[in-house]
Structure formats: structure tokens, C-alpha cells
Symmetry: C2
Subunit: 343 residues, 2 copies
């Protein structure tokens, strides 16, 4: 399995990205990685590291796309950037099965869409992170920001694609799907949700459990939570912000709490670390951009070695599970049974 990794564009690139790639190579002996980016800078990070040189290739790409670049323009014009070169490689190399980037989300999405193309029948590709839950297994939130204004059929496709994703990651035969809404009752929801609720209820290819309140998103009762990109983004970032706020207030309390608090924190450190790791969605890998002809994973911009490695291994797992083919089949079957009016 060959995976392309954009070595630049993240907050800790290239160092942490390259080290994460080496960790992934160490973890899976059948894995081959192509790093795209400034050759010299990558070589500097590799110096002194021990790894299987036959499984790592570097493709020189001196430019870096940043969050300040306009995505469509960057993808068209910055052909010598680590992002665009990586996506071109993914598109042209039949052996390459996945692409991982810590780069600017907008550019990664636009680039992947333009270079790799969407699966026939998928109305809108969507960004789907795997989030931690109280029960340990992840929940797939789809969409979390790629599609801001949606139609009901888009949400049906999100459900179908994210179900395939969930099966690939957890092995669940029929993942439980919830529709993000302002209440658990069937009558709740805005206009979009009410229409989508009908489509999801009528689709025989997913296990639709009804509305999911944002409060229950991380409960572990759902394997997939479907939302338009605007609301999914709000749910995701509200969760992220709250976790950050709680840890910030906790650290502040410990710092100001004198000896007793500091000793308590020291003793509780292993537990606090477990909590932080368990609730840290970056540790789960990246967000998969579902609905394209090949696997594209967007890791967090602030991803360090461990998260980059997790994202690469997740991309490998998704490609190995033939998720693209599964989504193609699922969307086609849904269309044949009337659950699709997009194409």
C-alpha cells in the first residue's frame, strides 16, 4: 500500500509530519510512503533517523499552500506546492491509494475535489472526523464543514458514506445513524432536517435511529451523526472549545491551588492524561474527506507526530477496506431504490 503524505502546511511541519510518517512506516511493514515537500528540509529531519529507506520516497515540491491563499487559485497555480504535487501524484499513480495532509482545510478540500473527483452518484463529498465517545468507540460526524448550505439528499449521502466509514473503522455491520437536531423527538428539527429525516427513515441501506441531540453526540449511542456542514462544524467546535475551556480552568485552579492541589494533580496525572487522550479527537487520526475516488484524510493543522501517524494508519485502514468501492456501491443501490435524486 502506497500513501502520499504532504510534509508541509501544518503548524509543526515538516518535522512532526515527517516523524509521524516514519512512525507509520515502523508500525506497518507493508506500507510505503511518498513525502511531498522541500527536499532539503525533509532530508534535514530524516538525518540520523533510522527507517526502511526502500519504503520512503521524497518528491520535491518547494512551495507551501497556507490558510491565507485562496483555495481555488492555490490549487490551480501553485503546482509546485507540497499539497498540489501530492494530489497530482495521488491522481496519476495507480499504486497510490491515499493522501494525508495537515494543510489548510479549504485548500485540501478544493484540491482533492478538483484533482481526484467525486464518486459517481455522490451529490457532495463531505468531511467526516472520527470523534471519541464515552463508550470508547468513535462516532463519525459527517459533514463537519465541507458543505455549508445543504439539501436533504446531501444528508442522505452523508449517512450512507459515513456508515461505510464507520464499518471500515470499527467493523460494525450496521452502524447506528443519528441526525443532529435540536431535540431527540422525531418532530424536532429545522426545515432541512425534517425533510432529511424522511429520506433517512425511508432508506433501507442505513440503520437510522432518529434525531440525535448535540448533547448525545459523544454518548457512544450513535456510530454516525449526520449534519449539514454548518451545524456539524458548530457541534464539533463547541465540543472542542468546551473541552479546552474545562482543561484551562482546571490548570488555572491547580496553579492557584497551592501545595494540596499540586500534589493532587500529580497523583491524578495518569487519570487526567487518560481523560485528555480519550477526549482528544486528534488522537483518533484525521477527518476523512468522503465521496472522492480515492482516500483523502485531513489531519489537524496542529497535529504532532502521534496524530500524523494515526492519520496515516487510518488512511491505510480506509483504503484497505476498499471504502471508495463500498461508497460507490451503497450510493448506487440507494439510487436504484429511489433514495437518491441527485444525479
Amino acid at each position: 500500500m502506497k500513501i502520499i503524505v504532504d510534509a508541509f502546511g501544518g503548524d509543526y511541519s515538516p518535522e512532526q509530519t515527517v516523524l509521524g510518517a516514519l512512525d507509520a512506516l515502523g508500525a506497518k511493514s507493508s506500507l510505503r510512503i511518498v513525502l511531498t515537500g522541500d527536499e532539503e528540509k525533509i532530508a534535514e529531519v530524516l538525518k540520523g533517523q533510522s527507517y526502511d529507506k526502500t519504503r520512503l520516497e521524497i518528491v520535491h515540491a518547494p512551495a507551501v499552500v497556507t490558510g491565507n491563499d485562496v483555495p481555488t487559485e492555490a490549487v490551480r497555480k501553485m503546482t509546485d506546492s507540497s499539497l498540489v504535487k501530492g494530489l497530482d501524484l495521488l491522481a496519476s499513480d495507480d499504486e497510490a491509494q491515499a493522501f494525508v495532509s495537515t494543510g489548510a482545510t479549504g485548500a485540501v478540500l478544493v484540491g482533492a475535489y478538483m484533482k481526484i473527483g467525486r464518486i459517481k452518484g455522490v451529490s457532495r463529498p463531505a468531511l467526516a472526523p472520527a470523534l471519541p465517545t464515552v463508550k470508547g468507540k468513535p462516532v463519525i460526524l459527517c459533514d463537519c464543514g465541507a458543505n455549508i448550505d445543504c439539501k436533504p439528499v446531501n444528508l442522505l449521502h452523508f449517512a450512507i458514506m459515513a456508515s461505510a466509514f464507520s464499518s471500515a473503522v470499527t467493523g460494525a455491520a450496521k452502524p447506528v445513524v443519528g441526525l443532529l437536531s435540536n431535540g431527540a423527538e422525531a418532530k424536532k428539527g429545522n426545515e432541512l432536517n425534517k425533510e432529511a429525516f424522511k429520506l433517512l427513515s425511508e432508506c433501507p441501506h442505513i440503520d437510522f435511529a432518529g434525531n440525535c441531540e448535540a448533547r448525545d453526540m459523544l454518548s457512544g449511542d450513535f456510530d454516525v451523526v449526520v449534519a449539514d456542514g454548518f451545524n456539524g462544524n458548530i457541534a464539533l467546535k463547541s465540543a472542542e472549545g468546551t473541552a479546552g475551556a474545562i482543561f484551562s480552568v482546571l490548570m488555572d485552579g491547580i496553579n492557584k491551588g497551592g501545595l494540596r492541589a499540586k500534589l493532587g494533580a500529580l497523583l491524578l496525572r495518569p487519570v487526567l492524561r487518560v481523560v485528555k487522550n480519550k477526549m482528544d479527537y486528534n488522537a483518533q487520526g484525521g477527518a476523512c474527506f468522503l465521496g472522492l475516488n480515492k482516500v483523502v484524510v485531513k489531519a489537524h493543522g496542529a497535529a504532532k507526530r502521534k496524530s500524523v501517524c494515526a492519520a496515516i494508519l487510518q488512511a491505510r485502514k480506509l483504503a484497505k477496506s476498499e471504502i471508495t468501492e463500498k461508497i460507490r456501491m451503497a450510493v448506487r443501490t440507494a439510487a436504484e431504490t429511489g433514495g437518491n435524486d441527485a444525479d
Copy 2:
């Protein structure tokens, strides 16, 4: 100041609701409270409690509206319920300035709207809780669920009303307003948001700081965050669910962590309690239903004594600040300068 308190409808009613009312009476000597609900059951809770009897009145109302009742029907037909009787009192008694209930949100909103009526010029009354932030001062989230499908002008009114609320609660002269969106940049947002962004930018009566990512909602950088009721509800409940998930994983870790973890937790208990209290939005009081002709506060269904007391004192503060008059003025001024096309 006379405040009507619905003694029933909450998870811990009437006991915790009545005790919370007594605490509020104890805290403010100029406060008078009318409790509505089953006289006998209320008397049972009062037995043995010491309080100023001249400042507490009970109005018998044997029925209880629950979440299973259809709001409009309940408000029309259950005239002997603690909720409807309370609202009727608020509407008819000129001395009564505020109403507090832990009852079913839908019924409280519908009842308050039907019985008290909206302020002239306000396109839609909205539910606005005060949430805790990292900086200590609260942020007002408006709307968080009363209006599921909104128009841009509704969001402008939410901003105006919540600014008046924020000033009343924190004393801030010009509260900083953010618009909940999927990114901080001005170009971010769905169709509704982009239109609302324009209206908010052009309104001279608020201090609009641009888009607010859900991640920054609890940062303390904003005094007011405006959203349609669907998005606001998702942001609020995602925050609530995440806080719950973190504490649940933490408790689980402590329980399974052996002696070391338990000792650590014991030493850290004061800090953990501060974190829990600081991040617990119920401790801040209730959610105010803004835009009505009198103050209506919806406390959490699971509110206990302390939260009920906080909600009553918050209602008192709001009424004392003449928030209704302030909102009336602010909406009128906004309309005169072209920022309102609702009426």
C-alpha cells in the same frame, strides 16, 4: 419586587423549587414571591422551614404541565396548572414583574408568548441563557432554541435584546457581540448568516465584533453570541454534552485508578468543584425569554435549590434593570435608523 415562581414541572419539584424560592427570599429582603402549584404539597415542603411569611404567597394550582403535553393545547386547556396560573398572574398583576419556571421549555415559551405577549417591534422573542466563560464573566447565547428557522432580521433583534440582557447582568456599557459561524472570517457562514452579518455590521446600536467560531463561544472574548435557535441549541448542547462526557470519563478513571487516583481526587476535590461550578451553566441561573412584555426565566428542568435561587435572583436583577423598557427602546431606535423591517 414581586416574582411569580412555578413550583412544579421540574425534575425536583416541588421540593427543590420551593427551597430555592426560600433561599431567594432570604437573600433579598425586598423580594416577594408567589408560588403556584398544589397547595398541600407546597405546604409540606414549607413545614419546619423558617422564612418571612409576609413575603411568601401560595396560589393553588393542582395540575402540572409536562413535556408530554402539547404546548399550545396545555396552555389553552390546563388553566388550573401551576404554569398557566403563574403566567395568568404575571399578566394580570401589575405588581408582578417576573416569572420563573423549571417546567417543560416548549410549554413555558408558548405560554409566555400567548399570555404576556411580545414587545412591539420585536420580530421574535428568543431564549437566552447566560453561559460561563474561561474569563469568569458570562456570555449570553441568543437564541438557543425558541426559533428554529430564522430570518436575518430575527438575528439582529436577538443581538439587540441580548446586548440589553448582557448590560443588565454584567453592567457592561456596550457588550461585544459575535455571530455564531463556521469560522471567524467575515466571509464564513451559511446564507442566513451572511445576510445577518450585513445587518449586524450596519446596526449602530450594538458593538458587533464579527463572526464567532463555536470554539470561541466560552472564551470570554464575546459578551453576546447570536445564532438561530437551531444552531444555538446545537452549540449549547454540544458544550453541555462534552462537559458531561469529560466528567464521566474522569470519574470512571478515578474509580478504576486505585488508591493513588482516589487520593489525588480527594486532594484535588476543591479545584474540581470550582471547575464544575464554574463550567456549570445552570449555576448561572436560567435562560431568559427575551422580547416579552415582562421578564420570564426558564430554569433547567433538573435545577436544584441553588439553581432555582440563582434563576429567581437573576429574574429580579433583569426586572430591576428595566430590561423590557430597554429592549423596547433599542428595537425602536434600530427600526428608526433602518435596521428593522419586521413590523
